[in-house]
Amino acid sequence: MSLLAIENLSVEVEGKKVLNGFNLTIEKGEVHVLMGPNGSGKSSLIMTILGYPGYKVCAGAITFDGRELNSMSINERVKLGISIAFQTPPEIRGVKLRDIIRISGGKSLWNPQIEPEEEFATPLLKKVGLEPTQFRDRDIGVGFSGGERKRSELAQIFASNPKIMILDEPDSGVDIDSLKTIGIDLGEYIKGHDCACLIVTHYRHILPYLNPTLAHVMCGGKIVKSGSPMEIFTKIEEKGYCEYLELCPPGIKEEIEKGLVINNTEF
């Protein structure tokens, strides 16, 4: 039994098809890289796995750890062991970073009467390189830099002890030092916990830390090519996504050409 099995998934958002017969299987402990031009459906896939409202499954199924997810709410799904680092998490005023980390770990909000010194979020913040005294009482995302935002997402992922982590561009908008810390942290965690990983990225820099199993190229709402991560990256860096467009489902290529600008300089 695969850890994550997505079969023939088709999804619509406001009547527009965003996933089109998508297939993917990830086994325990495997690291998969997902690439593709903007608008190819990468984020839609993540939102659909999580069960976000507005992502209407028209066909196909998602199974995780033997359970079919389609009719479950977001929180029921993540409790099965799915954890996500969002590309741009929202700001939530008044909700403290330490508390969201605790919630991710299934703990209650921090209560100084029971726990004079916060003991759960503090070491996790330290681990991801956010100084606990400065960050634990901060409102989620408010005034965070790009790198701080990514690290705070990682702290939440580590808190939840997942079977699979889904990382949506954990390396975008971060400087080279942060990238290294994030890469090392993730790599160690994946290895140490035999955790599976699906990572969406436009860059190769983070990959050496994660030792990926397979890379996939998405176009027009489905995977059009899978193979060795380094080979695929090298090819895309040379030639862009143009040749993958030919592999899109019928009619999709024309739509993409009409509606989307695919620019090689973006990745």
């Binding site: 999580l50 409202p53 977001i74 939530i92 005023r93 008044g94 909700v95 409102d139």
Partner: protein, 407 residues
């Protein structure tokens, strides 16, 4: 005619004068007969209820206590070991201190409307008088509870708070009704006098019942270098509540800060504002309000900044969150600059909870109700800038207690 009789005559003259804002209340409907005084002893059900509006019946960590049940003053005293503060019933002070005429109805006009008139002419006047002597800085708050224990009662109180020069005073006022009281009316006149260099923080927690009408009338006069911090919390339903406390910043470098947290629910109508009149150089005002509208509640959140002197600065910040499709929030910010050199600004935002925030919290394992509650709690941030640390904790605890059943 002495000064008291003159005021009384003025009041009688406006007994039918409707207020500018809020639905008109027919006060004749309130015929409840007050409970008689049970000297110095609080029934346990009254004490328990008072706890939900921040009152410590055992008087722990308080400088003094005032407790009025219906029309009777049960308790009005300072702690023995605390010097330099007076806690008394206002009617007693009217008899005792002739100089009170310089304060009585000087920050609020007796002929404002029929409610101020009722407070002056009420058969059983009540309310508290709290005064800190010059230079006395109290760290522990004085607590005051105004409690309606009888169905259909009209309670009218007149509070006078004087912080003499360079003194510091913290007050926690809890206003509530007995759990069995559904209907009644509370009129509360509060006049604050913040003398040169003095600081007063005033935390008021309202916990009324569904059919109670509430009409507070508040005026604050702040002298040179004085600071007034108001922290208003209302998390319980009420029939209608209308108030528009006004601070007059008459001294140079005087400061006022209003922090308002309202959770409107049921069929409540809340018309709540804060006003600051800046009439001296260097005066500053800051107002923040956080309003939640649930069920069919209607909330009007007003703010009025009046700049009457150069080199003054004031800012108004109002945010509203609607939790149902039948609740309404109406934000009315007003800026009025009467001379050059007033720096007045406002920001207001009203909307529903963002789906992205809700989904984000759900993706961390909370269900929809838990996620909503967490956002609401965060939105109603009890952090009041300027409130001492131990009071902040106290307020936070009270909010937890008050909001237990709501959120």
């Amino acid at each position: 005619m002495n000064w008291k009789e003159e005021l009384n005559k003025k009041a009688v003259g406006v007994q039918d004068k409707s207020a500018l804002l809020g639905p008109d209340v027919d006060m004749k409907q309130f015929k409840g007969q007050a409970l008689t005084k049970q000297a110095f002893q609080l029934p346990s059900d009254v004490a328990d209820r008072a706890k939900t509006v921040g009152i410590n019946p055992d008087e722990e960590s308080r400088s003094g206590t005032f407790f009025q049940l219906d029309h009777s003053v049960i308790l009005a005293c300072r702690k023995k070991e605390i010097e330099g503060v007076e806690v008394m019933g206002t009617p007693q002070v009217v008899e005792q201190y002739d100089w009170l005429k310089d304060y009585y109805w000087k920050a609020v006009a007796v002929d404002t409307d029929k409610y101020t008139a009722e407070a002056e002419t009420h058969q059983h006047p009540g309310g508290y008088f709290i005064r800190t002597k010059p230079g006395v800085r109290l760290t522990l708050p004085v607590q005051a509870c105004l409690f309606i224990g009888t169905q259909g009662l009209l309670q009218a109180v007149h509070n006078i708070i004087i912080a003499e020069e360079n003194s510091e005073l913290h007050i926690i006022t809890g206003c509530t009704t007995h759990p069995q009281v559904k209907n009644g009316m509370h009129i509360g006149i509060s006049e604050f006098y913040i003398k040169k260099g003095a600081t007063v923080t005033f935390t008021m927690i309202h916990g009324w019942a569904e059919d109670v009408e509430v009409r507070p009338r508040t005026g604050v006069i702040i002298e040179e270098g004085g600071t007034f911090i108001s922290n208003y919390i209302c998390f319980k339903p009420v029939k209608s509540l209308q108030m528009y406390p006004t601070s007059y910043l008459v001294g140079e470098n005087s400061r006022v800060r209003y922090h308002t947290l309202i959770y409107g629910m049921g069929n409540s109508l809340l018309d709540v504002g804060s006003r600051a009149v800046l009439s001296a150089r260097g005066a500053r005002a800051e107002m923040t309000s956080r309003i939640i509208g649930k069920n069919s509640a209607r909330i009007i959140a007003r703010g009025h900044l009046v700049g009457e002197f150069p080199e003054t600065k004031a800012h108004l910040d109002c945010r509203g969150l609607l939790l149902s499709s039948t609740a309404q929030i109406h934000s009315v910010p007003e800026l009025e600059a009467k001379t050059q050199g007033c720096d007045l600004s406002h920001e207001a935002a009203v909307g529903k909870i963002e789906e992205a925030q809700l989904c984000y919290l759900m993706s961390r394992g909370l269900n929809e109700d838990e996620a909503t509650a967490l956002i609401v709690r965060g939105f109603l941030d009890p952090e009041v800038p300027g409130l001492p640390q131990h009071l902040k904790q106290e307020v936070r605890k009270t909010i937890e207690l008050t909001s237990e059943k709501v959120m």
